[in-house]
């Protein structure tokens, strides 16, 4: 009979144990941004449905979308989507077995932070 000593075994350290590091924080933010984008996505679906329904419904959805709250969600989501995209790109690089050393992980992390801000500003300027 193996291992009767259940529940008393050493566990792998978890989030609450680790000191926050740039590599872990950039990774956590990829998950955070990806899931938070649901809000903007549902707002866009509502906006499209309203446009398909007629001018009255569109005025309501479009008014919400262009209110200060809608603007705030859209600008934050714009940054979130660029950040998540760069984070995904980092995963695709890692999946090929490249860039797994600490130096490259840090470099790509800084590219994600800086790149997402630059892309967000560029998008706002262009649009």
């Amino acid at each position: 009979m193996a291992d009767v000593n259940r529940g008393n075994r050493p566990l792998s350290p978890h989030l609450t144990i680790y000191r926050p590091q740039m590599t872990s924080m950039t990774s956590i933010f990829v998950r955070l941004t990806g899931n938070a984008l649901l809000v903007a996505a549902l707002m866009i679906v509502w906006w499209l449905l309203a446009a398909a329904s007629g001018p009255g419904a569109f005025a309501v959805a479009d008014g919400f979308m262009r209110s200060w709250f809608g603007d705030l969600v859209m600008v934050l989501s714009l940054w979130a989507v660029w950040y998540h995209l760069l984070g995904g790109l980092r995963h695709l690089v890692w999946d090929t077995g490249r860039g797994l050393d600490l130096k490259s992980a840090y470099a790509m992390g800084y590219v994600m932070i800086g790149g997402s801000l630059v892309l967000t500003l560029l998008t706002i300027i262009v649009l």
């Binding site: 679906v45 449905l49 995904g88």
Partner: protein, 123 residues
């Protein structure tokens, strides 16, 4: 406890053997979104803020409508897979199953609603 066999204790705790399929599905959709998301940002961004008539006319055109439709379908597929892993990491027991069902239903409902709207706009 001493009467349980090793097999009985281990059953149901191992890999479901679908991890690779999940990983590959996320990889394929992420590459697709790498192309679709910039296209969607600049097409949707260009028309957001325009009057009703301009929005309807814009999404009646094939290219903006196809970009929006593909982005919604692939995007919500990708969201469903990612949110499922988030739930599996932090929620356990019955709540986990309910949360995964909810995420799946929301994803397909939003996908269908968006595509329906685009078809109405196109026709």
């Amino acid at each position: 406890m001493a009467f349980l066999t090793d097999r009985k204790r281990a059953e149901g705790l191992g890999s479901a053997r679908t991890g690779t399929a999940h990983f590959w599905s996320m990889t394929v959709s992420s590459v697709a979104l790498l192309i679709l998301i910039p296209l969607f940002i600049f097409t949707f961004g260009a028309v957001l803020g325009q009057p009703y008539e301009a929005v309807v006319a814009y999404y009646a055109r094939p290219v903006p409508a196809l970009i929006a439709g593909l982005t919604l379908i692939v995007g919500f597929h990708h969201f469903k897979g990612g949110a499922q892993v988030l739930i599996e990491d932090y929620v356990h027991g019955l709540a986990k199953h309910i949360a995964i069902l909810a995420v799946t239903f929301i994803s397909y409902a939003a996908m269908a609603a968006g595509v329906y709207a685009l078809i109405r706009l196109a026709l």
